[in-house]
């Protein structure tokens, strides 16, 4: 019974949220068990949402913040994937390449991306470039590691077979290595995207003109719990949408996995 693809009944999920919302009302609006300074009532959260949607908060309206954040994540993510996946593939394929690149990788990998923020500011200033650099660090590591493991996980006899058939180097890469490593690569991309997102919020918390992290930063400076909740929900929704988009790309890229 623990095994079959269990369907979670939808109504249970809906009921859970309904209970939560009732509890939220009960604890804040009806009984004031949780004071307004600690957590907002639904009413306050709704007002905050309306404020940021209509008049804007922290210098812009909600969609502008979300788009700005999404743009930075995308830039950092694409740059990291563009460099990380080929490097990972090369390290997976060639022992020489691995031995040479590994030390740098070992040195940089354990440093959390956020720790680069102070350096990024003095090197690249306050613009988007510094944030993209920090995001790049976050996404680069999972992209490399998973591409590397992806190549290593290809059945050796597949490569042998291709070799005995005398396929060209180019076809080896495009028809054996990449398709073979693709499932792992996508696993890595998913981690990369999540890391990008986490890091961006932190980078923006430290100073930006627009962006969801900036909304959170401003709301925390104003001690505005309702807006903090709105900001957190916006962060979650945007991140979920990006993950769904990646899922769609993944399914397109690997049609053979659909079954």
């Amino acid at each position: 019974m623990a095994h079959d693809e269990r369907r979670r009944p939808v109504w249970v999920g809906v009921a859970t949220f309904a209970v939560l919302i009732v509890a939220w009302f009960a604890l804040t609006t009806w009984t004031s068990t949780i004071g307004p300074g600690r957590f907002p009532s639904p009413r306050e959260a709704f007002d905050a949402l309306r404020q940021i949607w209509v008049q804007g908060y922290a210098d812009a309206r909600l969609p502008v913040h979300a788009l700005h954040s999404a743009k930075l994540v995308l830039l950092g993510f694409v740059a990291a994937v563009g460099l990380g996946v080929p490097l990972g593939l090369a390290m997976g394929w060639s022992r020489t390449c691995e031995a040479f690149a590994n030390p740098t990788f070992l040195l940089l990998r354990p440093i959390p991306p956020l720790a680069w923020i102070p350096l990024a500011i003095v090197w690249l200033g306050l613009g988007d470039a510094a944030k993209v650099l920090v995001i790049w660090f976050a996404a680069f590591v999972p992209a490399v590691i998973n591409s590397y493991s992806g190549v290593r996980s290809i059945e050796p006899h597949l490569v042998e077979a291709a070799r005995t058939l005398g396929v060209s180097r180019r076809r080896m890469v495009t028809e054996v290595l990449i398709p073979g490593a693709l499932p792992m690569i996508f696993g890595g991309l998913r981690l990369s995207l999540q890391a990008c997102w986490t890091t961006l919020v932190a980078a923006e918390l430290i100073g930006a003109i627009a962006g969801l992290g900036h909304v959170l930063y401003q709301a925390s400076l104003d001690l505005f719990p309702a807006m903090i909740v709105v900001g957190m929900v916006a962060v979650a929704v945007t991140a979920a949408l990006m993950t769904i988009a990646l899922d769609i790309v993944e399914r397109r890229a690997m049609p053979w996995r659909r079954a």
Partner: protein, 348 residues
Amino acid sequence: MKRHHWTFAAGIALALASAGALAQTVIKISYQPALYWSLPFYVANEKGWYAELGLKPEFSTFPAGVPQIAASASKSWDVGGAGSVPAVLGAVRYNLLTIGITNDESYANALLATGKTAAGFVKNPASIKGQTIVLTANSTGDYAVQSCLAKWGLKKADVTFKSMGQAEVISAMSSGNADLGGLWAPNTYTLEEKAGAKQICSGQDAGAAVPGALMVRADYAQSDPQNVARFLAVYLRSWKWLNAHKTEAIAMMKKFYAQGGVTISDAAMRKEFDTRPTFDLAQQLKIMHRPGANGASEVDGWFANIGAFMKANGTFADAPMPSKFITDEFLQMVDRDPKLKAFANRAD
């Protein structure tokens, strides 16, 4: 506020206290490291003055005023010091009372420019229009900067503000990635001495009074008023001593600032003393005195301006009435008790 209750309770407590056999009561004190007005907390502890009044201080430090205010909600501290902007925010959000003034830091909150641009901006302040200014939003530094802009006839919309922590402001300006920044001491000195920046306008220059606030949680004020009065007496005595013993004071300041990671010259530390007036018991009572039933004290006026600034920033819809959160009740308690009063005025 049930003032007579406090007074009554305080009377009993003080009677007990003067009867001797004082038990040490814990008081949780919050401050920010490496700031001028925090120095008395450190000095008093080193000298053992809290213990003399039966207090056992437990310190917690915060990197900035806002998290400090937020932490009062979880009762992480009872009394403490912070900038006036956080104090007003704390009054609105968490019923914090302002019970005294740490210092007049009008000169210490300022707009700085990088070395190569400062002269140009000073000669022609109108050229600041269109520039980007990096600062910590909703801080006393922000207040000083906006007051300076107003003095030059500039509006907030004439410039671009980028909000970030003080460490980032320092990074951005020292690396030449920003030309203008709003800071407070000792960060101003760090930037001047290590990156050649120049202070081009302070709150004082702009005619904006920037006080620092001593605060207490309202429920703590109600339950332990006598501790609050003792806390004030210790703080006042520390300033008396610091001002009377400059050389030793500078030495302790050096140690205290180093603990917060700030290494500035002795000259800059001396300048802190010279440019930031502090208030003894009599002076505190004077600036906080409200003439008549509805009169406003000098301090009320300062905080009303700060409230208006925060309202214009969009922090809240209505600024709080100073009379609602500023009280000299505890200073009065010190003043009425001969033993505490003598203690607060000791310079040794």
